[in-house]
């Protein structure tokens, strides 16, 4: 039996000790010799995770669900493995951006949005309140048990008058204690060294107390672990607790609840406001994380070591009595009269509860003040806050008020709903609430595409589903809302039953809530992020967060302030929130860092504005600080382009270098083009030279004969008449050849220059072929070669220059006559109407043309064979001219040949559409055209060649 005054005075002494530790640590910090700059203190402070829920509740959960108590500790252990990546990044970002809370962190990531900050704060407060009330309940129950020594107490003080309710006093004392701890002064750094030191000490106390009671039960009441387990096994139903899924539920249901609890615990260790506070905001050195990664899981393991032993010990010891398993830790030693140990356990539990309440309420009060109250108050013109010289008092007042209100609300919740759930269930509902921060937070860390709208949508959707699937049923069990909503669904709609949403059944409440809330949260976050665009600030913050390892090297964070402000204005602003002395200190420090003699030499540039904003952010949060600085800086809005250009100077340089490379490539390619053009010009020059040389040769040859015989005739008058006639006919023949050549050269140059006077008309191909055959019949007769003509009666007319077309056919026929076999020459010409074209083929039985020469022969002065060794048998201009003519009519001229098997020269000319053929009725025109037979053979002056 412990007297009230003993218990109370020991508790008060303990709190006094904590306060002394905190006070000492604060003093050390002020003198620059931080007590908490130590990885072990940091790791111990993280153990604030183990609350009264762990201290008392683990045993209770082990009794009811066997291994069900483990996920709460396995989750964080798994998460620790990721800390070096995840936590380190968050800490680094928070240091760069002077993040003061989780709400601040998420809001800063999404463009310093006050709306996001407010939403996160509301979710955190609503989600955490039950958790706070849980701690009050634990303290009050423990107190009642200790001072009444009634081990069967259930729900201590519950329903009694307020003034005699220990929980109320506990709440008030804790509020006072927290206010003294956390809000003694307003620090721009927002760090609470004293509090961290005290929390670390508390972690030790609760560990020692738990190990002590564990040891007492195991070896004091029993004969070691083996004895405890052996005796427990004899109890009915205990065996099942050792086996996964052995508690009677369906196997999958139990496994699912283990997974979901593990999952929530993983996220809780990151996103519970108190964990954020100690792990991120209070972090002194990011390298401390290295130690915490192994030390924190070890702590969790050790504090859980005796959970099964105490659970089974309690079950054996209290078998058949209605002692609440949640109190075994305390009731087991008391039942053996171990009052001293009982007091130690009470203090341990007090440690666990106070640690949680202090850190949680400080973290929440910072969020409520910076992210909820200040933005609202600053926007309320009637308050004229913008004109007040010093707001530090107001800030502290808001925080103190928030702490008090939260503890009282927690008490209220405990009074009204506290009995509806076991401790663990309330804890998990809180875990599920803070898990809603995960998508926006983790997404924001690694995905630049996450937008403010996405964060708002995800948070809202997840929170609403959490409210509906987890909180509403809890309220229903407490009788605040009709149970019918849970059992039959709102308005009787079964699909909307909060515990079987859309027909999802077979899962426990937590798993069910996890699936739907995470689905809604992640879905809305991703969908809205993808469908909305970021503002300039959002974009810059996204880049600074995701690429923090890159940007922090520069050290300055964002420099997105532009515009005019004086140092005096910034000093006034800082004074209002930090106090005048602090503001001067801060500015002097800034000046010292820049090696200036005094703050008066400081320039009000973007750096200073940024500096002021981060200092303010430490006091009033990022979103509010941004708003306050914006109110004094006449900021010109930054366009997206400008932000990008500031942000990515490096990328500009890269772009410039890319452009240089591009220019260089263009120059190289231009040089290549020029070289190739030059080559072409050289080639053209050579061709012109060759052409002139060829023409010269072709002109000189007949001229030689003409001159020689003219001189012979002139110098030898004695020649007989027959010889003279013979020589004169040579002169005439060679003169004709010369004329022909000159005509062809002129012809070709006219065609190539496009100066030909084409006389296009409707032409009958049949008439053209017949005319050409008649004109060349003499050539075939001289060579004794046969010419077969295959011309059908009906061939459609074409549009062409008749005389030119005749020229082409005569050229092909005379070439065939020239190159066909001798003797036994045989040439055939055919005319065919094919789809869309008229086709003419001229086939000879000569020696054929080698494949390599088949295109060459259409070049000027090029004939089959080597022009150097083979005397050309024509001017070498006939085929080039013919091809030019056919192409002018839109047709094609080509040759097919196999050496030794003759050659076939063919051309096609497209048939024209009716309109082009000349309006009227084509068949009639064609009949008319076809009706006109060729002129008389040989009537044309065109000579073959």
């Amino acid at each position: 039996m412990l007297r009230d005054w003993v218990v109370i005075s020991v508790a008060c002494a303990y709190l006094g000790l904590l306060f002394a530790i905190a006070y000492y640590a604060d003093r050390r910090a002020d003198r620059g010799r931080s007590l908490i700059a130590n990885p072990y203190i940091y790791s111990l402070s993280l153990a604030v995770y183990a609350t009264a829920w762990t201290f008392y509740g683990s045993v209770g959960r082990a009794v009811s669900t066997g291994i069900g108590f483990l996920p709460i500790y396995i989750g964080p252990t798994i998460m620790c493995l990721l800390w070096w990546i995840l936590l380190r990044k968050i800490i680094l970002i928070s240091k760069v951006h002077r993040i003061t809370s989780l709400a601040d962190f998420i809001a800063s990531r999404y463009g310093k949005s006050a709306l996001v900050a407010g939403l996160v704060t509301v979710i955190a407060v609503i989600g955490i309140l039950p958790y706070i009330s849980l701690q009050l309940k634990a303290i009050s129950t423990a107190f009642t048990i200790v001072h009444s020594h009634d081990v069967e107490v259930v729900g201590a003080g519950h329903g009694g008058p307020f003034l005699s309710d220990t929980a109320l006093y506990a709440a008030l004392i804790l509020a006072a204690f927290t206010i003294m701890f956390g809000t003694r002064h307003l620090d721009a750094s927002e760090r609470h060294e004293g509090m961290v030191a005290a929390i670390a000490f508390e972690s030790l106390v609760k560990l020692v107390a738990f190990l002590a009671v564990g040891g007492f039960v195991t070896w004091g009441m029993f004969d070691g672990f083996r004895d405890v387990f052996t005796r427990a096994r004899e109890l009915p139903g205990v065996q099942a607790l050792f086996v996964i899924g052995g508690t009677g539920d369906g196997q999958t249901g139990v496994l699912a609840s283990l997974y979901s609890a593990t999952f929530f615990a993983m996220l809780a260790i990151m996103f519970l406001p108190r964990q954020c506070q100690v792990a991120v905001v209070e972090n002194v050195d990011v390298n401390h994380v290295k130690t915490a990664i192994w030390l924190f899981p070890l702590y969790m393991l050790v504090i859980n070591l005796f959970v099964p032993a105490i659970a089974f010990g309690g079950m054996v010891h209290f078998a058949g009595t209605p002692v609440d398993p949640d109190t075994y830790v305390l009731t087991l030693p008391l039942s053996r009269g171990q009052n001293g140990l009982g007091l130690l356990v009470f203090i341990g539990g007090l440690s666990a509860a106070t640690g949680m309440v202090i850190v949680e309420t400080i973290a929440l009060s910072t969020m409520v003040c910076n992210d909820l109250a200040m933005p609202l108050l600053l926007r309320w013109p009637a308050l004229r806050l913008n004109e007040r010289k010093n707001l530090t008092g107001l800030l502290l007042g808001i925080r103190r008020g928030a702490i008090l209100v939260m503890l009282l609300l927690g008490y209220l919740y405990f009074r009204i709903a506290g009995e509806a759930y076991a401790l663990v269930s309330i804890g998990l509902i809180s875990f599920a609430a803070v898990a809603q921060f995960a998508p926006a937070c983790l997404g924001g860390l690694f995905w630049k595409g996450g937008t403010r709208a996405g964060a708002l949508a995800g948070l809202s959707a997840g929170f609403l589903v959490w409210l509906y699937t987890l909180l509403v049923p809890a309220f229903a069990k407490s009788g605040w809302v009709p149970m019918s909503i849970v059992e039959a669904g709102p308005f009787g709609i079964e699909a909307l039953r909060p515990l079987q949403l859309f027909g999802l059944t077979g899962l426990d409440q937590i798993t069910h809530g996890m699936i739907w809330s995470m689905l809604a949260n992640v879905g809305a976050y991703v969908a809205f992020s993808l469908s909305t665009t970021q503002s300039a600030v959002e974009h810059s913050q996204a880049t600074l967060f995701v690429d923090v390892f890159k940007h922090s090297a520069a050290g300055t964070g964002s420099l997105f302030w532009r515009g005019g402000v004086s140092v005096q204005e910034l000093r006034a602003l800082l004074s209002r929130f930090l106090g005048a002395d602090k503001a001067d200190d801060v500015l002097e420090g800034y000046a010292r860092d820049r090696r200036l003699r005094s703050a008066w030499e400081v320039e009000a540039d973007a750096n200073l504005i940024q500096f002021a904003e981060t200092k303010l952010a430490g006091a009033i949060g990022g979103a509010s600080a941004h708003a306050m600085v914006a109110s004094v800086v006449k900021e010109a809005p930054l366009t997206m382009d400008e932000v990008m250009s500031i942000l990515d100077e490096a990328s500009q340089i890269m772009k410039y270098s890319r452009e240089l490379e591009k220019t260089s490539r263009e120059l190289t390619s231009a040089y290549a083009d020029l070289s190739s053009a030059n080559e072409q010009l050289k080639e053209l020059d050579r061709m012109k030279d060759d052409f002139v040389s060829h023409v010269s040769h072709e002109l000189r040859t007949p001229l030689t004969s003409i001159r020689s015989f003219s001189e012979i005739l002139h110098d030898h008058p004695q020649l007989d008449a027959a010889t003279r006639t013979k020589y004169l006919s040579v002169v005439i023949q060679e003169a004709e050849r010369l004329t022909r050549l000159i005509n062809q050269v002129l012809d070709l140059s006219k065609i190539e220059a496009g100066r030909v006077d084409w006389r296009i008309a409707v032409v009958s191909p049949r008439e053209v072929v017949e005319h050409a055959v008649a004109a060349t019949s003499q050539l075939f007769a001289e060579k004794a070669a046969t010419l077969e003509v295959d011309v059908p009666e009906e061939v459609p007319p074409i549009l062409a220059d008749r005389d030119r077309l005749v020229q082409v056919v005569i050229n092909l026929l005379s070439n065939a006559a020239k190159f066909c076999a001798d003797p036994g020459g045989r040439v055939s010409i055919s005319l065919r109407a094919e789809p869309g074209v008229v086709r003419v083929d001229v086939r000879d039985n000569g020696m054929g043309i080698a494949a390599k020469d088949q295109e060459l022969i259409f070049e000027k002065f090029r004939q089959g064979g080597d022009t150097l060794t083979t005397k050309p048998r024509g001017t070498g201009l006939g085929l080039p001219i013919s091809r030019e003519i056919i192409q002018h009519f839109g047709g094609r001229l080509w040759v097919e040949s196999e050496p030794g098997r003759g050659a076939t020269f063919s051309f096609v000319i497209p048939l024209r559409r009716q309109a082009e053929v000349g309006g009227g009725d084509v068949p009639d025109d064609r009949a008319a055209a076809l009706g006109a037979p060729g002129t008389e053979a040989g009537a044309t002056g065109t000579e073959p060649r």
Binding site: H697, T701, T704, R707, I712, L868, T869
Partner: protein, 123 residues
């Protein structure tokens, strides 16, 4: 004994005129219409001078000239290149290959005859 001249050209009318001019001067003339025929006749006929067209089928004038200069049995034959190609480079090439003279077509008959007589020492 009459001095002998080979006329090698693929233009029959030019051959006809040259033959008249050379025979009128009292030379014994043989003709060839392509390079290969010309080479055969060179061996059999053993001319004192050859009037050689550059552009001939089968073997061109340059090749014939080269064979003449490189064959000891043909040593001492005078070579007059005739060409319708009027470029300086063509003349240089002919002379470089050992031609004794190079005449561009069309030529003055009197000058050609004078050139031939001078080369044969009949002037």
């Amino acid at each position: 004994m009459k001095k002998r001249i080979l006329i090698a050209d693929d233009e029959p009318n030019i051959v006809m005129s040259l033959q008249f001019l050379m025979e009128f001067e009292g030379y014994e003339v043989r003709t060839a219409a392509d390079g290969e025929t010309a080479l055969q006749i060179l061996g059999d006929f053993r001319p004192d001078l050859v009037l050689l067209d550059v552009m001939m089928p089968k073997r061109n004038g340059y090749e014939i000239c080269q064979v003449v200069r490189e064959t000891p049995a043909l040593a001492g034959i005078k070579v007059v290149m005739l060409t319708a190609k009027g470029r300086d480079i063509d003349a240089e090439k002919g002379l470089a290959l050992g031609a004794d003279s190079y005449v561009t077509k069309p030529f003055a008959t009197k000058e050609l005859v004078a050139t031939v007589k001078a080369l044969l020492g009949d002037a």
